[in-house]
Every structure is written in C-alpha cells, then in structure tokens.
Amino acid sequence: MSRSTTSSGGSVYVLAVVVGLLASAVLAPVAFQATQPAEPDRVMVLTYDGGISGTQVDEAVDSLREARTNESIKGVVIEMNSPGGGVTASERLYKAVKHTSNELPVAVAIKAQAASGGYYGSIAADRIFTQPSAIVGSVGVFTSKDTTFPSSYVRSSPDKAQNRDETTRRTVEELQGTFVESVLKERGPNSDHQGTTLQVDRSEVELAHTYLGSRAVQNGFADELGGTPDATAWVAEQAGLDSYEVVRKDANPFGGFFILQTSEGTELVVKDDGVLRTTQTQYYALAPDRVPTIVASEYDGAGTAAASDDSDSESDEAAPSARDEAPALGGVDT
C-alpha cells in the first residue's frame, strides 16, 4: 500500500513542477512588464551657449542623438545663444538638428543671438522663437587671407600650405552659396516650413544682415516672439503631450569664441577649459561683432597652451551672459 502511494506521490510532484513552470512562463512576462518603471513623457531642453567649434558641436550632436533614440523624449527645444563659429561645425549642427526635426518636433528659442553659425544651427527647427531684441541672421562666411609661406621652409609645390587669393575668394563664395541654399531650403517660400517663410529675396539673404528679433519675425527669419517656456509649450503641443518632464542638457560647459586683442593686433581664439587656443578653423560662419573681446594684457595665461589656474574669474566676466530664462517649464502630472 505504501509503495503505490509513494510512486503516485512522485508523479504528483513531477506534475506540480511542470504546472508551476508553465504557469510561470505565462505570468512572468506580465510581472516583468508591470514592474518596469513608468517612463514619463519628456521634452529635452538643450542649451547652446557660445561659439560653434568642433568639440562644442560634438556635445550638441550627442544630445540630439539621445533625444532621437530615447523613446521617452517626445520633443526638443534648443536654447540658442551663439554668434556662430566654424563653417564645418555649423554644418554638422545644422544636419543634426535637421535629422532630429525629421523625427520629433524641434523648436529653437533664441536668447540673445543666433548669428551666422548660430542661425545655421536654428534653421532646420520646426519653429524659431526669439526675444524681440535678439540678433538673428548674418548668413555669410569669411576667412583670413593667406599669409605668405615663410621662406625659411622648402615646400614641394607653390600651392602647398598657401592658396591663391582667387581660390580663397571662390571657396568663400561656395561656402556662402551652400549656407544661403540651406536657409532657403529650410525657410524659403518653396520650402516645407509651416511657420513664417522668408519674406525677402535671395539677394537680401546674401547680404548677411543681422536683424533684431522683431524684424526677424516680420521678414521670416524667425517665426514668433517668445522664449523657452513658449517653445517648450509649443513642442509639447505638437507632440500631443498632456504632461511631461523637462530634461535639461548643456551642450557646451566650457569654451566659446573670443577675440583676443594683443599689442600686435587681433586674433580669433577659442577658450577651452579656461585656456585660450588658436582656432583650427579656416572658414568662419561667425559674426565677430557679437563676440566678446579679451584684452591680452588683462588675461593671465593668454596664448599659452598650458592650463591656467587663475583664469576662472576672467572667464566669468568675459563669457557670454548665462541663462536669463527662469527654468519654470512644462506641466508635470500630479
């Protein structure tokens, strides 16, 4: 009697295990899903404050990629405050913004200036908000003329490390051409732009004027007056969000273009981590009249590549103005 009870008890255990595993297989995924932390909808506010150089754009491009790949981020606001910078870096920023606006609503909120490269980075956005007295525009490029190759070197050909004036002029013309074409493609009368399209013709754009925000809204360089809260609310509305969180990103904790004034003349430099470095760029989409000036005699460590330890106070004075907007943003579901 006990033997048969044992054998039937054994098969009952086996059955129990099988049933248990089957039930788990059904219920476990449900439990897994149920305890995934709920991702709130988010709007990324990316601050771009300063000149446009390679490393600064790297950070912005990375942030924009995160916005595209992180499913919780439903829209992007770029706080733009830049006088521009290198042409190549500006093109990269333009393409990154364009890529993002293909997938998410993107708005730009111009704080004090979006000039030249700063404007290049703004045109691909779905909407440009601007402060009324911000500076917008400057669609043009410049470069320094080549200095004569020093005669103490021997080179392999006359064009090594030196361009004819004519070649430089043509390159400037080509770069201006692509810049203007990009502006027209994004905001021109024949573009897909949903806001205010350009009300001026191509030759006016080529003149590289800067406009006050109010004028920019009138002539189509910007869409409407407003700041970061307006831009964020607009993006949220485009994305159909009832409630959302704001994720703040800063594209350039250090750095920026400055004009270094020495007794020998002026030079364009990039401040990188408190140290001034000669910029590598040759062609600029930059509005130099919007760039702060550092007087070399008042700056410790000017022109040196070694790290300078007492440059911080000077850098705070010389740096472009910090965020003016109070970060009261968005509605959070209670």
């Binding site: 295990v17 595993l21 191509r202 080529e206």
Partner: protein, 327 residues
C-alpha cells in the same frame, strides 16, 4: 492527501519564485539604453558637388600693344606712399619693357634729391597707382604742364586699403584715404574717383566685389567687351572728359546703396583715370578681356607726343628738397 498538498505547495512556490524574480529583475537591471540608430536620410542636396562648387573661368590671351611708337620712357610713381606692390603692376611693366620702352620708378626714398618735375621732364608718361599722400602744389603744376605739353598721365585708384592695420577684424570701418589724394590731381581734368567700392550681390557665384565692366568710348575702351574688376570705385566724369569703361550692368555703391551703371574709367586728352587697379594684377590679367585693357593702357602711355621735350619746365617757386608730407 498530504502529498497532493505538498505538490500544490511546490507549484505555488515555483510560480512565486520565478514570477517574483521576473518582477524584481527590471529594478535591478536598470534602464535599457536606446538602440543604435541608422544614419539619417536627409535632403541636403545643396552640399552636393554639382550644386555647391563654382568652376573658375578660363584665363587666356596675351597682353599686346598695337601702338607703333618709338621707344618712350614711362615713370611709375612710388613716391606718394602708393598702395601697390611691384608684383601687382608686373604685367603692365613687363609689356612695356618687352615692347622696347623704358620704365623708371619715381622713388624719393631711394634718393631724396629726386624731384618729380625733374623726373617728368625726361619722361613721356607718368603712372600713379593708389597714392596715399597728396601731390604738392608744385607737383600738380608740374603735372599740368607735363600733360599740356603732350605727356601722358594715368591715375589708378581703388578703395582697397588705406594702409592702416586693424588686424583681421577691422570693424572700425576702414575708410580709404587714397582716393582723396589723387582727386587733387584728377579734378583739374574733369574726373574724380569715388571712395566707396562697387559691388554686385548676385546668384552667379561671383564674389560680391568682383564686377563686370565694358568698354565705352575712346581708345582705352577699344576691344574691351568684358573686364573684371575686384575693387572698383565709380568715377565721376565732367567737363571734357569722356567715359572709357563703365560697369556692364547694375551695380551698387557700398556706402549709400545706390544702384546704377557707373563709369569706372575716363579719359580727357592726355590723362586717363581708372577706378580700379586690380584688373592689372597677375591673378586677373588674363581673365575675360582684362589683357586687352592692359594693352590699351600700355598703348595710351606710349602714344603721346611731347611738344616740349623738357616739360614740365622747372617751377620758378622752386620745388626744393622734398619736405614732410603736406595734407
């Protein structure tokens, strides 16, 4: 019976353990990162080479002189702080020399005793490009005498630079002083040069300050269908002067933004004034018809006939030694 209870208990235990682990796992594992994204497919056709690149125009032709003149002497002015490099006038100088004429340079820095009027008395033509110092009264009188007697004079001005260094960011507004320096000379002949450059914003890939000009009347403009000038100023023409070269189409004056077709070169008898010196430079000498205009300039310089070989007669007020620059 207890076996069945134990079995049921085992089933429940298994379910609890497995499902519980599944529930806890996300909290332990953390956020999953985004998937790597594919490259964007953006419409950025404006950057494609076919759309973005500008091809340079052809450079061809020879600078030729057609004047059949006996050897003449041409004096080039470097004594009024002229904003011109020797290399920039090389095509013109080389053409003159290659055709048997003598070229001299008026340079008081080399010899302070040298006087302009004395140099002119041995010359048949005088060329001054972008003088930044004014000509003295005595020199102006000498030049008048020189040209009245058949000597030829060519004045070339462009607003390029006034010689002041602002570094690469000259945003103080670099006002050219060079034009006003020559107007004291040229106005006597009914011509004055402007101070603000001409430009043409257009979509044809040409740099904004590079304008097209065409020959008008007279020997200077003959055969000149299209000359390209990089830094031209408009030339005001009055009195007996005639327009020799004017802009081919509408251009704009930079200072006041007025548009129109402007004269850029004029001739009055033995004097010609051109509002640009860039057309002669080696980089541009063989573009379009520039070489034709250079040849016409060379011809103009050697086609005068001096009535009084020694003109200008030495000034009775005595030019004396060259003093400090007077403004």
């Amino acid at each position: 019976m207890s076996d069945k209870l134990k079995a049921a208990g085992l089933t429940v235990a298994i379910v609890v353990v497995v499902v519980g682990a599944a529930a806890v796992l996300p909290m332990v594992q953390g956020q999953s990162t985004g998937t790597p994204e594919q490259p964007a497919e953006l419409d950025t056709s404006q950057f494609e080479p076919d759309n973005a690149l500008i091809e340079p125009g052809p450079e061809s032709g020879q600078i030729e002189m057609s004047a059949d003149a006996e050897p003449k002497t041409i004096v080039f002015d470097v004594g009024h702080d002229n904003d011109i490099e020797r290399s920039e006038i090389a095509p013109l100088v080389d053409t003159l020399v290659a055709n048997g004429h003598t070229v001299r340079f008026f340079d008081p820095r080399a010899d302070p005793r040298v006087e302009l009027n004395k140099s002119l008395s041995k010359a048949d033509a005088f060329v001054t490009v972008n003088p930044r110092e004014r000509f003295s009264a005595s020199q102006r009188r000498g030049l008048r005498n020189f040209t009245d007697n058949g000597g030829r004079m060519m004045v070339m001005m462009d607003p390029a630079s006034s010689g002041t260094s602002f570094g690469i960011f000259g945003f103080g507004g670099v006002a050219s002083q060079s034009s006003s320096s020559a107007t004291g000379v040229t106005s006597e002949y009914g011509v004055s040069t402007g101070t603000s450059e001409l430009f043409n914003i257009s979509a044809d890939g040409r740099h904004y300050s590079r304008i097209a000009t065409t020959g008008a009347d007279g020997a200077l403009g003959e055969g000149v269908d299209r000359v390209v000038m990089d830094d031209a100023v408009p030339v005001a023409v009055g009195g007996d002067a005639t327009v020799a070269v004017r802009t081919a189409g509408e251009v704009t004056i930079e200072s006041n933004r007025r548009s129109g077709r402007y004269p850029v070169a004029a001739t009055n008898g033995n004097v010609s004034v051109v509002g640009d010196a860039t057309f002669m430079q080696p980089d541009d000498a063989y573009v379009a018809d520039n070489e034709v205009l250079i040849g016409n300039v060379a011809d103009f310089l050697v086609s005068g006939e001096k009535i009084d070989e020694n003109a200008p007669v030495k000034d009775s007020s005595g030019e004396g030694r060259r003093g400090p620059p007077r403004r």
